[in-house]
Symmetry: C2
Subunit: 323 residues, 2 copies
């Protein structure tokens, strides 16, 4: 399943509104087929893996990060039907497809055909892998990651505005990698005016993965930017299941105040600035007690001299979805 999840990540931010699924077919200890949802959503991961495996699929085990779909579409047959037709012996799935056209019916069809089905394997990792799709299904909006890059004392710039650079090249490269994993990047109008950010992906081989650029502004009109007036309007962004919010402090605060941040990426440099520009504006906190219990550290690692921490909103909606 870990291999299937790794394949799934290849499609991330390229498959909306379809989920980015990964699939591995194994026979006698050997991988005979690999697939992942292709850009635009088709072919599906299972169809690609089955095509690679060919007639070897008979009796094989299929690992897939999302329940195989039960619904035919004009773009292709249902994956559960393909698996039955190929004669696979066993299917190991991570999570159930929340799409009401499948929602368990895929697993039912496999079992009805005599295929052994195991579900719930690496479910948490699969939910994280498809957070965009699951959040869209559950909440009708993209999954939102907020990025902050601060000094140890929580400043994102000096009082003078100087902010290049707080973090080092390794952390900045990591930001570019995160950008490539999102369908769209959003900044506030103030950041556009002050920094004129390009917001592209400057990593070898990933230049073509630069996301759509979105500006939060109640009044701005722009040819270069997709403009939305409020955080809630992210629900209207086209083909956007994963949104990356990059700043500045007022924009970050607006998303937090609206409780529209699912994941927090906190890059921290081992420096002190003192009396700098704070990372966040007013998030509408009424009492300190209300601040607790909202964020859970799920990952932390060194990036050169800096560190990145990943926090998830708790309880987070996708994690409470049915397996």
């Amino acid at each position: 399943m870990s291999a299937a999840l790794a394949l799934a990540s290849r499609g991330r931010a390229r498959t909306a509104p379809n989920p980015n699924v990964g699939c591995v077919i194994v026979k006698q200890g050997r991988v005979i087929g690999r697939g992942w949802t292709q850009a635009g959503g088709r072919p599906h991961a299972e169809a690609m893996a089955l095509a690679e495996a060919g007639t070897e699929s008979r009796g094989a085990t299929c690992y897939v990060t999302l329940e195989p779909c039960a619904h035919r579409s004009i773009r292709g047959p249902a994956c559960s039907d393909l698996l039955v037709a190929a004669g696979v012996g066993r299917v190991v799935g991570a999570i159930e497809d929340p799409d009401p056209r499948t929602a368990g019916a895929g697993f039912v069809r496999l079992r009805a055909a005599g295929i052994a089905v195991t579900t719930g394997v690496e479910a948490a990792a699969a939910r994280r892998s498809m957070a965009g799709f699951l959040t869209r299904r559950a909440l009708g909006r993209p999954h939102v990651t907020l990025k902050l890059a601060t000094s140890l004392d929580g400043a994102i710039a000096m009082a003078s505005g100087e902010s290049r650079w707080i973090t080092g090249p390794e952390a900045r490269a990591h930001v570019h990698l995160e950008r490539s994993r999102h369908d769209a990047i959003l900044v506030g109008r103030g950041t556009v005016g002050a920094d004129a950010p390009v917001l592209d992906v400057r990593l070898p081989g990933l230049e073509a993965r630069s996301p759509m650029r979105v500006m939060l502004s109640a009044t701005a009109v722009s040819d270069d930017w997709h403009v939305i007036p409020t955080p809630a309007a992210i629900a209207t962004l086209p083909a956007t299941d994963h949104l990356f919010v990059e700043g500045g402090a007022q924009t970050a605060a607006a998303f937090l105040a609206a409780d529209l941040v699912d994941r927090l990426l906190l890059y921290r440099a081992p420096i002190l600035i003192g009396a700098g520009k704070p990372a966040l504006g007013d998030i509408g906190l009424a009492a300190l007690a209300d601040a607790h219990g909202r964020w859970r550290l799920v990952d932390a690692r060194a990036l050169g001299r800096d560190r990145v921490e990943v926090y998830e909103r708790t309880p987070c909606l996708p994690a409470s979805s049915p397996i």
Copy 2:
């Protein structure tokens, strides 16, 4: 040597102006004597360990965190003489004593008596253990630890001033343990006025280890507090080799601006406050580039839902002292 360092920590913040030394005497794989500098500075660690070992010391190995002293005083004989008289076979030391009355003469005397001497064992840990004594010797002032307790966005309180509690009970207990390891605690006059902090050690068995209370104020007069007018005046604090600076933001900034912080203890709660009170006032930073390369992460651990990070000033004076 690790056992000797553990014993050394028992004397920490109770031996100024003497160093807190630890000593273990081992014979045929068995510990026969243990000692650590007693409150007030005497007896010395070696004298205590030799007294416990008695005549068994002959031919034994003595592990000691600081070079045995070479100078007699009215309070007792030189430890190097004691070790020679006891007939120990080998001495393993961590670092040389910077006291000019010893400064290598202790090791010379041992070697002259035919004792095998090894030095530099666990030197970095020993320097950290005796940071107060070494900083006093090198810079004529106490070793200074600055404590900050912040939200993820670097706030030490809400804009309203509400700050109880940002961190949880485990982190607060850790602060009390750190207090017990310092001779004195310092806060600014603003903190005294706003919070009337007791600054005692509220840990079972350590209540008697509460440090001297110091207030930073150019004008205040107090019966309850030792008052100093500037950060530089810490050099005048009586019997203080380890100073713990607890706040608030202006006091912390004043110490940082004067480059008088050797160690930074950063307690972080997994909460966001937004537009809160920043951890630091102006530290006199002229350019962002000047902020880099000053702090090195040396420890990080979870404390309940919170985390503590320990940073050391780099280059730090004690670390560049001779071994």
